[in-house]
Symmetry: C3
Subunit: 284 residues, 3 copies
C-alpha cells in the first residue's frame, strides 16, 4: 500500500501492489485468465495472488470462510472475491475498505467474514460508476467486466469513492457467524470446512474450549448426532497413532479433528454444517 | 508490446511483457512449472498468465475454443498453446503474428480460432531454427524444449522471422468452424463447451438468433435429437427459478442453456459436439 | 542469483529472484495463497513458481520425484517443498545449498533426489533460528510459518547460516533411490510415476537399457508380475498406432510406456511402485 497526499486535494490517493482473487470459476475454462488479463492491462505493476478458484459452485459460505482465513497472511491488497449465484440480478456490487486493504465483490455475504477478520468496514461503496467497467458488460461474467476492472483501477490508484456511491457499512449483507457457544460444560459448534486431507475444521476456537478446561493433553468427548467418541487432544494430528482420530488446534486457531494418515471427514461422516459438541469426559 | 526501430536495420524489434500459456498437461506433474522455468530464464521480465492446463488430454477442439474466447481479454502477448497428440511426428511447429500478439504452438488447428479472433494471420513462421530451442530436444515434451523457449525469445525481443521459415497463412491447418446456420426459421448449431457450472454453451451467436426474432424475453424451442423443450430466454441464468432450464447470452456472446443452481449439461444430456436447433414457438 | 561481497564481512550475500513451491496442500483451500502472501510480504521482488500442489497427501516419494525432475529447468531459486506427514513432530526442518539453488523443507527424504539432481548438498542448515519464522507457529502449517518465511528471507538476501545450525550432509534423511538394475540381459526397475495422460514412467534410464542393446526401433519385452508383452520402442508415443502400447524415452530420459490416445497405466494395471523388467525378445 502506497499513500500520497495530493497538493490540490485533501483526498489521500492509495495504490496497492497486490490483487488477490478468489472465485468458484474452476480451472478448466479461461474465466480466471480473462480476469487476470483485464487486471494486467489496467494495473500492469500489480502482483496477482490466486487464493482459490475451486470454491464449490455457488457456495458463498465456503468462499467466505476461505477468504477470511487467508486475507490476514496476504500483503495489503485489493481482494477480489466472486462467488455469485445471483449474478446479473438486483444484488449489489460493492467495494469495502477494511484494515489495510479493500475487498471487492458481490454484496451477498461473501466478503463479510473477511471484513470482520480485517477489523471491520471503514468505507463501503456501491459500485455504480460504469466508467470503471469493461463494456459491453456481460450479465453473467461480472468478475471480468465489473469486479476485476474496478479492483485493478483501485490498485492503480483510483480513489475508492470514484467507484460509486457510499453506503452504510450496516447495510451490507452479512452471513450469520458460524455457531460457537459455550455453556453447561459444553462447547457447541459446526463443521466449518473439510480440507484436502479430510481434516474436519470446527467453528470452535481453541480459546473457547480452553474456558471449559479443554487443553492439549486432555481427552475430549465429541458428540455429533447420536454418535459419541472420546479422542485425545494433541499438538498435531501427526502425533496420533496411524488410524487414530485426534483433536488438535489447526492453523486458524480452531479445533479440528483428524486421522493421522487417514480421512477423518469420511470416517466420521461429518460434512460442512454438521453440528458438533465437545466436552471433557465425565470425571470419577 | 514495445516497439523500437533499430538504427542499423529496417526490421522493427517487438518485445512483449506477457506470455500466456494453455495446455493439456494437467496440474499434478511438474510439466507446467518446467515451462515456466524455461520462460523465466530466457525472459525474466515477462509476466506469465496461465489460461488453463486442464484441457482434456488431446482435445484440440476444446483447447482451440478456450484459447479463442480468452485471448481478447489478455494484454498483447506471446500466446503459447500446446495440445498436441501428434507431438514428435511430422506436424509442424509454428509461430503466427495476429493482431497485437503472436501465437506459438503445433500446426494442428489449435491456434486457428484464436487467429481468427485476433483478426487473422499476418505472418506465419515454421519453427525450424533449432538455435532457439532447448537441447537436447525431447520427442515428447516440445512445450518445454521448442514452444516455450521460442516464445520466450520472441517475448524478449527476437524477431519473428529469426525463428524459422516463412510459410503462407493459407497453409496453416484450420479446424472447421463450429456449425452455426440460420435457415427456415431455425438456428442450428452444436454444443461448444460445458463449463464447471454445467452451463451448455452453443455455437449459435445471440446475434444469429436475433435474425429469427429470438430475443431476451422470448420463449425458445430447443430441439436436440428427438427431444424438444421450451425454455425462456432471459438476461441471466440467475433470473430463472431454481431448477428451471433457461437460455441466456453468455459472456462470449453465444446462446447458452443453464439451470439456476443446477447442472444443465447433466440434466439435458448434452455433451460437447451435440447438435441443437433453436426456434421460436409456433404462433397461433 | 545475485552475489555481493560485503565490505565488512567475508560472508558472501546471495539473493534469489525466484522461489519455487511444491506441496500436497491441494488447490481447494487458501493454504497455498497464505504461503504466497507470506513470501510476498518478505520478498516482494521474488517471482513465485508453483511446481505442483497436487502431490497425493503425504506421498513423499511422489513429491521427491516431481521435484527432482523439475528443478533443473527452473532458474537459480529457493525451492520450497512441503509434503510432510510428520509435521509438528521431531523431524527436522532444513535448508540445503545445492548447485546454484537452496532447497527448504522437512528432512524426510522429500528433498533428497532433487539435491542429487542439483549436484549434491554443499551446506545443510537445521532450521533452528525462530527469529526468521512467523509467530505464533502453528504445529500443523509449517509451510506458512517456518518453511516459506525462511525461504523468503533467504531469497531476500539473508545468509544461509543465519537460519540455524550447520549439520553434516550425510545426516540428511535420504529416500532409497528407485530400483534400476541391469543384469543377465534384463533391465529391472519400477514404476516411478503415472502422468495425466496415463503414461507410465519407469525408473529405467534409456541409457541403461541401451547397455542391453535396447534402442529406438527395437522390440521390447516387458514383464510385470506374471504378465508379459512385447512392444515397439519408438521415438514418441505419437508414432504408435492408435490403441497400440509402445515404449519411448520420456522427457526425463527414462523409459516410459504409453498408448497413443489411450491410458497405458489403466490398461496395464501398473501403479507407482510396481516392478517391471525389460529385455530384448529372444533371438532365433
Amino acid at each position: 500500500m502506497r499513500e500520497a497526499g495530493g497538493d490540490l486535494s485533501s483526498q489521500i490517493v492509495t495504490s496497492y501492489d497486490c490483487i488477490s482473487f478468489l472465485t468458484d470459476y474452476g480451472l478448466e475454462d479461461g474465466f480466471v485468465a480473462a480476469c487476470h488479463g483485464v487486471a494486467t492491462r489496467i494495473a500492469p505493476a500489480a502482483r496477482l495472488i490466486d487464493i482459490t478458484h475451486l470454491v464449490p459452485p455457488g457456495d458463498v459460505r465456503r468462499g467466505a470462510a476461505v477468504l477470511a482465513q487467508t486475507v490476514g497472511y496476504l500483503p495489503p491488497a485489493v481482494h477480489v472475491a466472486v462467488v455469485d449465484p445471483g449474478v446479473g440480478t438486483a444484488r449489489r456490487a460493492v467495494a469495502v475498505a477494511a484494515g489495510d486493504s479493500v475487498l471487492v465483490g458481490p454484496d451477498n455475504g461473501l466478503l463479510s467474514w473477511a471484513i470482520d477478520a480485517l477489523g471491520g468496514a471503514q468505507t463501503v461503496i456501491h459500485l455504480t460508476n460504469g466508467e470503471l467497467w469493461l463494456h459491453p458488460v456481460s450479465a453473467t461474467f461480472q468478475g471480468r467486466d465489473i469486479f476485476m476492472p474496478v479492483a485493478a483501477r483501485l490498485a492503480a490508484g483510483a480513489g475508492l469513492t470514484s467507484a460509486g456511491d457510499e453506503i452504510e457499512p450496516g447495510d451490507l449483507v452479512a452471513l450469520p457467524a458460524p455457531t460457537s457457544r459455550v455453556s453447561d460444560g459444553e462447547a457447541e459448534g459446526e463443521v466449518m470446512s473439510v480440507d484436502r486431507f479430510g481434516n474436519v475444521q470446527l467453528s470452535i476456537p481453541a480459546a473457547d474450549a480452553g474456558r471449559l478446561g479443554i487443553g492439549i493433553g486432555s481427552a475430549l468427548v465429541v458428540r455429533c448426532g447420536r454418535r459419541q467418541l472420546t479422542v485425545p487432544y494433541l499438538d498435531t494430528f501427526a502425533a496420533g497413532a496411524p488410524g487414530e482420530i485426534v483433536a488438535f488446534t489447526d492453523s486458524a486457531g480452531l479445533i479440528s479433528l483428524a486421522i493421522n494418515t487417514g480421512d477423518a471427514a469420511q470416517q466420521l461422516g461429518l460434512p460442512p454444517g454438521a453440528h458438533v459438541r465437545l466436552s471433557l469426559p465425565p470425571t470419577g
